[in-house]
Amino acid sequence: MNRLDPQTLPLTRTEALTRPLVKALQHPWLAGIVRSSAVEDSLQALHPLLSLSAVRARVVKLIDETADTRTLLLRPNNLWRGAQAGQFVSVTVEINGRRHERMYSLTSRPGSRLLAITVKRQGLVSAHLHDAVRVGSVLALSQAMGEFTLPATLPPKLLLLSAGSGITPVLAMLRELQARRFAGDVVFLHISRNPADLIFADELRAAAVAFPALRLMLHFSQQQGRFDVGTLGQQVPDLAERATWMCGPVALMDAVQAHWHANRHSEPLHHERFAAAPLAAKPLSEPVRIQLLRSASDFASLGADNLLLQAEAAGHSPKHGCRIGICRSCQCVKRSGTVQNLQTGELSSTPNELIRLCVSAARSDLALEL
């Protein structure tokens, strides 16, 4: 059993009660009498955290970490199943009538009943979380997701490597190591533009003193120049012996991965990619026809982009969520044809298989249940 899959985490006690209700409401005979959206809306009119199926959380505190980064402390309702350090949640907000979903690493403290996410202002949703969300606001969350976590049995030597806002999941891991009184040896190497941009600076410095297993290495690229992955071996001489967890910009993670391969390191290299580095889909020489069976329409594709984007460009609006291959909201049945998974590069021609539109590109004529 994969204990990190939210589907397999044990249900909360409240969920054990609400699950059968949700199931009953979805039954076609009952759904025609009471829509579950009506039940949800009524519950939330009574109390904004009430829900039969959705994790909803109230903002209880806002902490400004740096000039452009803020931590939101959240109190979830009883449907929250808990999380492991390094996991993330999707946060759904409505901005000017449109729902947007984004993934944020959890930066909750070990053992705390409160959840935390640390958000750097960089786009529409993060700006909304900075400007429009106040103490008392309620956010809709997913259960915790992701397999970027520490194992139950810790290796003797670890490297936690991060850059920029990628510090969030690895900092959560560092806190967990500290809480578990890890007696091994952990190097925490973080790359930041300058000291003013360093999130959790005080906490890191305090841990460097109080946590004997920790060796803290900070690299400020404004003063010390761009971090050269080639020097990693000199900075961390026993690199080959360290199981590594890293999170940061795609270019950095690619470089580290290349370094790992070049030096044939055998210790595992775990990484978290939010901007999933999908393969650039190579356009086909001849356009193929994408047939949408339910809407009885079709469009032509050169397979140069994922199917979700292409369907949208063709004027359709398939159901979707994260758009990066995580939430499976855009999953649909492919009746026939060949698609390429842009995350793995795998080609698949199996008929009647479930594909995720946002990470699949057409490689032949397709018939989709859309």
């Binding site: 025609g32 829509r35 959206s37 000017n96 009538g97 809407s295 609006s317 159901k319």
Partner: protein
């Protein structure tokens, strides 16, 4: 059917496109607030209607309950269901407003509707032999349709269709006629039939079994109330929908007229094939803004409450290009519909009715 030159049609297309873009680029909070308000209103109306039917004393509360329930069903079918299922609110990303999963309080299954209405009717509006909404395969609405002896009974058929309109709409996608002629494979027909029967079953279970049973000794009162509310909804939707395409001067097309249409041609066909109703704000809402049938057919995926805003611009455009903008009161337009039905009751070659 129109006298515009190709460059004029292209210019018309560009102007209609511009009107569309001016609205679609401003979709936002106000549109979501509107539809959510309608949903809340519909729920409150249904709850009070059912409460009055179940627990109200005397005949007056029965009438009030029927009206409230009919109001809820009309809102649900017209302003909410019809418009949501057109994808007018898909841009919100709210699963409760998703066109592909929405289901409504009517005997017509949502999935069947998405096909018969969104695909067939809106693409092939008023094309003989293609648009199956043209007389709903029951009525002869134009002299171009072949007359058959059964059309003598047309005025009666029309009344039956009006009273049971939800079943007309629900069985529409079965394409019974085409199935009889072998144009539809048996398994496809079977699947459609199952879907129709299952949806009707669910509706009957709810309105004619479960709710009356819950009312115990008031079961007959509730049963009659639910029936009356459904009947009112049927008559209202029938009148509104027939006034949208079967009034006087509405153009009927042949398949060959519409080959190789440009978007401009399509706009012109939608314009000539639709007619509007005049009325106040509440009247428009109760018709699901199908009182702006012309605007709806030009922009089927635009949130319908915005049609009021674009209607004057479309009307001005019609004036500029010398096109007919067919509008009138409900009374005037329905009179024209009735005339059309009666005229086409008679076989060809008969002296036409005066008027």
């Amino acid at each position: 059917m129109n006298t515009l030159t190709r460059p004029q049609i292209d210019a018309f297309q560009a102007e209609v496109d511009a009107i569309r873009a001016s609205v679609m680029s401003t979709l936002g909070q106000a549109d979501v607030d509107h539809i959510r308000k309608m949903i809340t209103l519909c729920r409150v109306s249904e709850l009070s209607g059912r409460a009055l039917l179940h627990f109200g004393p005397g005949p007056l509360s029965w009438v009030a309950g029927v009206l409230a329930l009919a109001h809820a069903k009309i809102l649900d079918n017209m302003e909410i269901g019809h418009n949501v299922m057109h994808g007018q609110y898909d841009w919100t990303g709210d699963p409760a407003l998703n066109s592909q999963t929405f289901e409504w309080d009517i005997a017509c299954d949502g999935e069947a509707w998405r096909h018969s209405h969104n695909v067939t009717h809106h693409t092939y509006t008023n094309i003989l032999g293609k648009d199956r909404d043209l007389g709903y395969s029951l009525l002869r609405m134009t002299p171009e349709q072949k007359w058959k002896p059964r059309h003598w009974l047309q005025p009666l058929t029309n009344l039956m269709l009006a009273m049971g309109f939800q079943y007309g709409v629900g069985s529409h996608d079965l394409e019974l006629g085409r199935y009889k002629h072998g144009a539809i494979p048996k398994p496809v027909f079977k699947e459609r039939l199952n879907r129709f029967v299952s949806k009707v079953g669910k509706q009957w279970f709810k309105d004619y079994l479960l709710f009356p049973a819950l009312a115990l000794w008031s079961a007959p009162r509730v049963l009659a109330g639910n029936f009356a509310a459904n009947l009112i909804r049927n008559l209202w939707t029938y009148v509104v929908i027939f006034c949208g395409h079967f009034t006087e001067h509405v153009a009927i097309y042949r398949e060959q007229d519409c080959r190789n249409e440009s978007r401009g041609d399509w706009y012109l066909r939608q314009l000539a094939g639709s007619s509007n109703l005049t009325g106040g704000r509440w009247f428009h809402v109760l018709t699901g803004h199908l009182s702006h049938q012309i605007e709806h057919h030009l922009f089927p995926d635009m949130p319908a409450h915005r049609y009021r805003e674009v209607a004057p611009q479309i009307e001005a455009l019609c004036l500029k290009y010398g096109l007919r903008y067919n509008t009138g009161s409900l009374f005037k337009q329905y009179l024209a519909v009735m005339k059309r039905i009666l005229v086409n009751t008679l076989p060809p070659g008969q002296p036409r009715l005066a008027g």
